[in-house]
């Protein structure tokens, strides 16, 4: 495995995992979703995680997002050991430090864009006026200034994903985790979303992206390939050849 360290940004380490494993017990059988993953991610990186279906990408993302706890291994988020955090602390980290973007958008169907984006601010205890102003601002930033009172079913897929991105951004998180954010969108809309993510990266955000698609992964500045729960390669830039089984 070849790593070109010279291209790496030198910001502080946000995510530091070492030898993480995750087993799922399915009755008699043990599914080893992750089998020892070590990874460091610094501030303002833009990483694509690729790999075949079932290779453990989503499992890794959930781990990074403090939604799931590893079976073994060490995870430090912003220098704090995640294993030592209790449920409320994990919730607080998810609320303030991590912005999730899902393939299926996961918006509250009966709430307007504004109310959807306000949700993390409510959990952060921000007062209503600032909450609304902030949510409206972020929605305007993602180009939905004129759609703040629309409900999800009154928006296109791309617009819904923009709302979801606004929601992920609203608390000013350390990292944005996007698990196949373009998976439910056509390629043109997907490109628009990738443009938005590119802008976020340019303005200093840290982005971790899971995708199957090469042209999507090509937007990232670093590519991690997973296979069978292990990191197969970790490269600066996009290295399409390595998506194939490595020869020698």
């Amino acid at each position: 495995m070849e790593i070109r360290n010279s291209d790496r940004p030198r910001g502080p380490v946000v995510i530091d995992i070492e030898n993480i494993t995750k087993d799922y017990i399915m009755g008699e059988e043990v599914v080893r979703a992750l089998r020892g993953v070590t990874l460091q991610i610094r501030r303002n990186e833009y990483i694509a995680i690729m790999g075949p279906s079932g290779s453990g990408k989503s499992t890794l993302m959930n781990m990074l997002g403090c939604l799931d706890t590893p079976t073994s291994g060490r995870y430090e988020f912003n220098g704090k050991n995640v294993a030592e955090m209790d449920d409320d602390e994990l919730a607080a980290v998810r609320n303030r430090e991590i912005g999730f973007v899902f393939q299926t958008f996961n918006l509250l169907p009966r709430s307007t864009s504004l109310r959807n984006v306000e949700l993390p601010l409510i959990y952060a205890g921000i007062d209503p006026e600032r909450r609304e102003a902030r949510a409206a601002q972020v929605l305007a930033d993602v180009g939905l200034g004129d759609r703040i009172h629309h409900k999800p079913n009154e928006l296109s897929g791309g617009q819904r994903q923009r709302v979801a991105i606004a929601r992920a951004l609203v608390n000013g998180p350390s990292i944005i985790l996007a698990d196949e954010p373009t998976g439910n969108l056509d390629s043109k809309t997907g490109e628009e979303i990738m443009e938005l993510l590119e802008n976020l990266y340019q303005s200093g955000n840290t982005i971790i992206l899971v995708t199957h698609e090469r042209d999507i992964a090509a937007h990232a500045r670093r590519t991690v390939h997973l296979r069978d729960g292990l990191i197969e390669s970790d490269h600066a830039g996009f290295v399409p050849e390595l998506d194939l089984p490595v020869a020698g």
């Binding site: 939604l67 409320d88 919730a91």
Partner: protein, 416 residues
């Protein structure tokens, strides 16, 4: 703290939206609570009514009056010990009054004799049977809640002279004089004519307990003149300070012993009663009616609560993915718990509110149709019903809300 408030207000909004978007389902589920609250509230009004009826009947006795009687006002096992007691004589009252005025700082005010029997009362073609005919003195008004709305009670002059005058109860007046004023009319009791000088205010009858509404009062001197037959007599004594009832009772016991000429070694051969004694006999009856009634109607509310619990479970199941999303966005366990608790509580409160409105209308209707039916709707009852609905909501929402709050975020997000 502030965050908690925002979360609560957010949860209320979500709950309202949830109810609106599942209108049929919410209404049907709330129906269980509506019926439960109607049942409990109606039972509550009935219990309230019974209680008020009891108290009203008790009030006739007065809470600052002691009754000197042959029989105690409580069930006795050894009735033979009381049967042979000497009768209480109305003349005691005069002697007692002399003793009271001779005692400095007496706890007693005045003794009033009463004698009574049942007779028919007639006027023209109308007749009322089984009227409680009472002979007493003009001091009687001091010891009782009697209140002449029309006319007056007889005065000391009439009392001493034994004038043929009567004060009649509301129901008696109503039956004998359906369309004219009873005042100054002559009624026939035991073949004698008596002039009606007053009508007592309506008191209402309750469960056949004694009521002034079906009585007739006349001066004792007149009573003794015409009714030599077997009569029941007792002496009632007004107490100066009802907070010192026990002292007054002791004093009165001493006085009556002197009147009766009882030597110190002999036990009392009379009873001194007060309203409280009667109350403590009746209260357990009242309370068991209340408990049994509320328990039975409470069951219907319980069934309603199970309905709410069920629907909240469904709601949690349906919104598993939403719960996962909320957790990913930073909702803590208690946030989720609170959200579903508020949803079930909102549903119950809505049901409770509607149920209460129906119950109120029903009470109003019943009250109009059957004025004597003991039913009483109060502000306290409204508050209690709302509190009960809220508790029902918390109770029925707890299990599903707890389940929701414990969901593993990843599992919840994966849920399809």
């Amino acid at each position: 703290m502030k965050r908690f408030l925002y979360e609560v207000s957010e949860s209320w909004k979500i709950a309202a939206a949830q109810m609106r978007s599942n209108l049929t389902r919410s209404t049907l589920t709330a129906l269980g609570v509506i019926i439960g609250i109607i049942a409990v509230t109606l039972m509550g009004t009935a219990v309230n009514g019974i209680s008020i009826g009891f108290d009203k009947s008790m009030a006739v006795l007065g809470d600052d009056v002691l009754y000197v009687t042959q029989w105690p006002w409580k069930p006795v096992d050894d009735w033979w010990n009381y049967r042979d007691r000497r009768k209480i004589k109305t003349e005691y009252a005069e002697t007692l009054n002399r003793m009271i005025s001779a005692t400095p700082n007496s706890n007693l005010v005045v003794a009033v004799p009463t004698s009574n029997l049942m007779r028919s009362v007639k006027y023209g073609g109308n007749q009322v049977d089984n009227v409680f005919v009472l002979g007493t003195t003009s001091d009687f008004i001091v010891t009782s809640t009697i209140d002449c709305t029309v006319g007056r009670f007889f005065n000391e002059l009439e009392s001493r002279g034994g004038a043929n005058v009567v004060v009649i109860g509301y129901d008696v007046a109503d039956a004998l004089f359906p369309s004219e004023s009873p005042i100054d009319k002559l009624v026939l009791i035991n073949g004698q004519l008596f002039k009606v000088i007053g009508v007592n205010a309506r008191q209402g009858t309750f469960l056949g307990l004694f009521s002034w509404d079906s009585m007739v009062a006349m001066p004792l001197a007149a009573f003794n003149k015409y009714f030599s037959a077997k009569t029941e007599s007792d002496v009632r004594v007004k107490v100066r300070d009802k907070t010192r009832l026990a002292d007054a009772k002791d004093e009165l016991t001493g006085l009556v012993r002197r009147v009766r000429g009882l030597p110190p070694e002999k036990k009392d051969d009379f009873s001194i009663n007060e309203q409280q004694a009667f109350k403590s006999t009746l209260d357990p009856v009242k309370n068991s009616i209340a408990i049994a009634g509320l328990f039975i109607t409470g069951l219907s509310l319980f069934v309603g609560a199970i309905g709410i619990m069920n629907i909240t479970f469904v709601s949690v199941k349906e919104r598993t993915k939403e719960i996962g999303t909320r957790k990913a966005l930073g909702a803590r366990r208690r946030t989720i718990l609170l959200q579903f608790l508020i949803e079930s509580t909102a549903l119950c409160l809505l049901g409770g509110f509607i149920g209460l409105a129906f119950a109120y209308l029903m009470c109003f209707g019943v009250g109009k149709a059957f004025p004597s039916f003991p039913i009483h709707f109060s502000v306290g009852l409204v508050l209690i019903s709302m509190v009960v609905s809220m508790l029902t909501g918390l109770f029925s929402g707890f299990a599903p809300a707890w389940t929701a709050s414990r969901l593993d975020p990843v599992t919840a997000l994966r849920y399809e």
